[in-house]
């Protein structure tokens, strides 16, 4: 293990100051300081988010977009203000392009049902990749079943990389939509999304990017990416659960029928004819998760006040450090060794099942994810029933990785 001085050189990022902003990181688990290495499942919230939600609940709550009273106007201003922050955060062209949803899963289902379903004819094709999360597989299976379209799967290689050529080989005259992850949740692979989107666009094929694992680790500019749809969740971005964003290109969203009907998404309703509201409200039926949106807006403000480049550099240093530390354990196999990875490591340990590892590490105060990570086809590909996964955020430390490695060694000794 390297000395503290060497570690400090690697990272100019003030981890200690950032950690102080996350109250939960101060707690103990089983009497040990919490080492929270399950950020890929859900990240923790800073004071800024907790306070924004608290302030809204205590002083401003009312329903939005209706009512002339003060609270309703304040709540509306906060909710729409959060949307403006998200528009800037991903560099959408306008607020028409940022739709608040429950999360990535709902965003993808919305696109599958409202964009793909009216478009797909029997024999058409939807293309995804082998490393997708179930949320980017099942909605397409459902819409393919509804329409008679076919779901094709672009392969990955033994390191967990998806190559542009293997996707291009499957983009055909019947392909109507290409959907893929920006970053794999099970492997950490960063996909070459710019080139993949360009390849689809060149053939007139619509694109959806599942950005759930990407937005916490990299700056996303949807205009620069050129995708038609981009989906992500608030709670992986240090915001609340139950809120997420679907970005869609306005021209496409404009043409899509509403997904759910109800209040807020209409202009006029009579029993003969209903006219729909303008974007983005057309896709936000019913009272939305107002406090969630406000919390997510606060999370984005918090992130933008950080030196994000330094934060991401720190995460990368954590990844390299952890990769070296875990590679040193000869009984440990890292699953997913792509050349470009976000800061997460999936692994298996000879003789110790991931589920047992998870329990033993938890006793040491270390939180990791164990299981199939909602990516059963990835597990099948690597011939493992499950993996353990440590996923890092900018508030994690090298010392926590030392503890991770030591705890894995302890678990291994127990089962050997």
């Amino acid at each position: 293990m390297s000395s503290l001085a060497v570690r400090d050189q690697r990272s100019a990022f003030d981890v200690k100051a950032v950690r102080a902003e996350f109250p939960i990181l101060q707690r103990l688990v089983h009497g040990k300081p919490l080492a929270y290495l399950d950020n890929g499942a859900s990240a923790q919230r800073p004071n800024a988010v907790i306070d924004a939600v608290d302030d809204y609940e205590r002083h401003h709550h009312a329903n939005i977009h209706r009512g002339v009273h003060t609270l309703s106007q304040e709540a509306t201003a906060l909710y729409e203000g959060a949307r403006d922050r998200l528009v800037r955060f991903i560099n959408a062209r306008s607020r028409h392009e940022v739709i608040f949803v429950r999360g990535t899963t709902e965003a993808i289902n919305l696109v599958a049902q409202s964009y793909a379903r009216p478009l797909l004819k029997a024999g058409d094709e939807v293309l995804i990749t082998h490393l997708e999360h179930h949320a980017n597989i099942v909605p397409w299976q459902i819409v393919c079943e509804q329409t008679g379209a076919k779901l094709l799967v672009a392969p990955m290689d033994a390191s967990g990389e998806v190559h542009v050529e293997s996707v291009e080989a499957l983009l055909g005259p019947r392909t109507r939509l290409f959907a893929c992850a920006h970053v794999s949740n099970a492997l950490g692979t960063v996909l070459p999304v710019r080139r993949l989107i360009a390849a689809a666009k060149a053939r007139g094929i619509a694109t959806l990017i599942d950005g759930a694992q990407a937005v916490p680790h990299t700056a996303v500019d949807v205009q620069e990416l050129g995708c038609d749809f981009y989906a992500f969740s608030g709670h992986k971005l240090f915001g609340p659960t139950g809120i997420g964003v679907l970005y869609g290109r306005e021209a496409l969203l404009e043409r899509m029928p509403p997904w759910q009907g109800g209040g807020d998404m209409i202009l006029t309703v009579s029993f003969e004819k209903t006219t729909y509201n303008a974007l983005p409200y057309k896709f936000e039926a019913g009272t939305p998760n107002i406090s969630g949106a406000i919390g997510l807006g606060a999370a984005v403000d918090f992130l933008q006040a950080l030196d994000l480049q330094a934060a991401h550099a720190h995460e990368h240093a954590l990844l390299e450090y952890a990769t070296r530390a875990l590679s040193g354990l000869d009984y440990l196999r890292i699953i997913g060794t792509a050349s470009a990875k976000a800061s997460l490591i999936s692994f298996t340990v000879d003789g110790a099942h991931p589920h047992d590892l998870g329990t033993i590490l938890d006793q040491d105060g270390i939180a990791i994810r164990t299981g199939h990570h909602c990516a059963m086809p990835v597990m099948e590909f690597f011939k493992v029933p499950a993996t353990a996964r440590a996923s890092f955020a900018f508030y994690n430390t090298f010392e926590e990785i030392d503890r991770l490695a030591a705890s894995i060694a302890r678990a291994r000794a127990m089962f050997a």
Partner: protein, 150 residues
Amino acid sequence: MELQDLYRDVILDHNRRPRNFGPLEAADVSVEGFNPLCGDRLTLRLRMDGGKIADIRFDGQGCAISTASASLMTEAVKGLTKTQALELFDRVHRLLTDDAASPDDLGKLAALSGVREFPARVKCASLCWHTLASALHSPAAGVLPAVSTE
């Protein structure tokens, strides 16, 4: 809540060297059990003779708790009648979920009592037992539909 209470020596031993592990020739009944949460999978095969479990073997992939539980179970139910085995299932189920349940008279199966302190792991220990119950409740022989803990 102590780790040693969960991973007792008996559990570690049966995980390292599971008993009655592997295929069973001439099985009457075969059932697959699946725990979608963690991906544990086991196949249980039984040979019945005169209303008794003449032989029972399992294979599959699972964590230490699920492997040891299945191994201990096969040892415990071999030779029992269907009714006796189902009674034992009830006792083990109580042991895993009810703090007041006594592990007395359960022999090696008492080692599973540490699991109840770890609620996330109860399904690991109970998967094989649910699978067995499904096999014993089935009126017909053959390959039965898979059992899931969800």
